[in-house]
Amino acid sequence: MDKFGFPEFLFLLQGLKWTVLLTIISFVGGGIIGLVIALARVSPVKTIQRAATAYIALFQGTPLLMQLFVIYYGLALMSFNIDAWVAVSIAYTAHASAFLGDIWRGAIQSLPKGQIEASNALALGYVSRMRDIVLPQALKISLPATIGFAVQLTKGTSLAAIVGFVELARAGQIVSNLIFQPLLVFGVVGAIYFFICWPMSILGSHLERKLSLGY
């Protein structure tokens, strides 16, 4: 192997498959837990609210790489018999849940108070108030930031390369080490990331503009 040919490109695409899969799993998992975190963060119970605040502050105040290391080695230490790749997914899910939780918390709190007062006046219970009144509106407001985070998460999965998980960035490293053409290989890897993230970024800023116009 001395030049960048089709087999090398195919190897990068193999890595891309894991990048996409890891992103989807952690975004969906992080979304489900993130919803719980967001609801806990706006909970009227002070203890629950503080716990959610601490959870978010912990993940926003430490590097993603450290979160990855601590969860990765922490799970191993607790002798959980799991795949490296399950451990990495758990780490990214936890990371995503804190950030999505905070984004959605912001959206929930940005709703006019009258909405909640009106739903109280209509004697709606907590579940109905959240499901029918608060969350649908909050989701719309938070959409640009949520998509922005999806871009961050896609790029963030590249750090799994450092713990040895063979996704796109790691595949690039391997190919680069084999054919000694880092300029070309990391250029191609960067281009692949770009063409995944760029459309999402465009969609995000398009929605943001639409939202700021008020429809």
Binding site: G61, L77, S79, I82, I162, V189, G190, C197
Partner: protein, 231 residues
């Protein structure tokens, strides 16, 4: 795939003393990370201001490269950017060593985000304010500096601060090109002691401390220089 612990949870086997013994290395790592981040933040701010000035210059020759730079950097991972710089620069004859490469990578990455944030602030300046400056006979440079840039920086200061804290946290990725910052110190201690969890747990706490420190520093700076006197 997900099984219960085989030998029960072995948290009682943790040993932090090995990590604490290396406090001098850890302190050096913290200081290195702080220095790396400070340099990165300063240069990112410079790139941000210059980029916005170029973007507003009215010349497409200056604007298009800025837009392309911002989009390119914001849509590719930092890890790939730093690898590209680290391995590509020597090929064109530029040898900088890991520390300088790390600072450049952080500055470029943070700079792209700064351009985007400051541009948002500049867009929020009402046209009337700029026209008022022109009516008072201020020069183009005075208008950009005093009428547009300073109020814009004040408006986006909180967003800029959280971006700079993110930059500080991102600096941990510079360990991958063996820049001698905190994460790299951690990896060295880990490879000598095999105490992975204890090492990284401690380092995570130190990063939390670092981000609080930088947050406090930025908000002091903001209160002093980037807030309106009557607020």
């Amino acid at each position: 795939m997900f099984l219960w612990p085989k030998q029960g949870i072995s948290l009682n086997k943790l040993n932090y003393s090995i990590v604490i013994e290396r406090w001098e290395d850890l302190l050096n790592g913290v200081l290195f990370t702080l220095a790396l981040s400070a340099a990165g933040i300063f240069l990112a701010l410079v790139i941000g201001v210059v980029g916005v000035a170029m973007h507003r210059s009215g010349s497409g020759m200056l604007r298009v490269p800025v837009v392309m730079f911002v989009e390119l950097i914001r849509n590719t991972p930092f890890l790939v950017q730093i690898f590209f710089l680290f391995f590509a620069l020597p090929l064109v004859g530029i040898r900088l060593g890991p520390t300088v490469t790390a600072i450049i990578a952080l500055a470029i990455n943070g700079g792209a985000y700064s351009i985007e944030i400051i541009r948002g602030g500049v867009d929020s300046i009402p046209r009337g304010q700029i026209e008022a400056g022109a009516a008072l006979g201020l020069s183009r440079r005075q208008i950009f500096g005093d009428i547009i840039l300073i109020p814009a920086l004040r408006a986006v200061y909180p967003a800029l601060s959280s971006q700079f804290i993110l930059l500080t946290l991102t600096s941990s990725v510079c360990s991958s090109i063996s820049a001698n910052e905190l994460t790299h110190v951690a990896q060295r201690i880990e490879s000598e002691t095999f105490r992975s969890f204890e090492v990284y747990f401690t380092i995570t706490g130190l990063y939390l401390l670092i981000s609080w420190l930088i947050m406090a520093a930025l908000s002091t700076l903001g209160n002093r220089h980037f807030s309106y006197p009557n607020q």
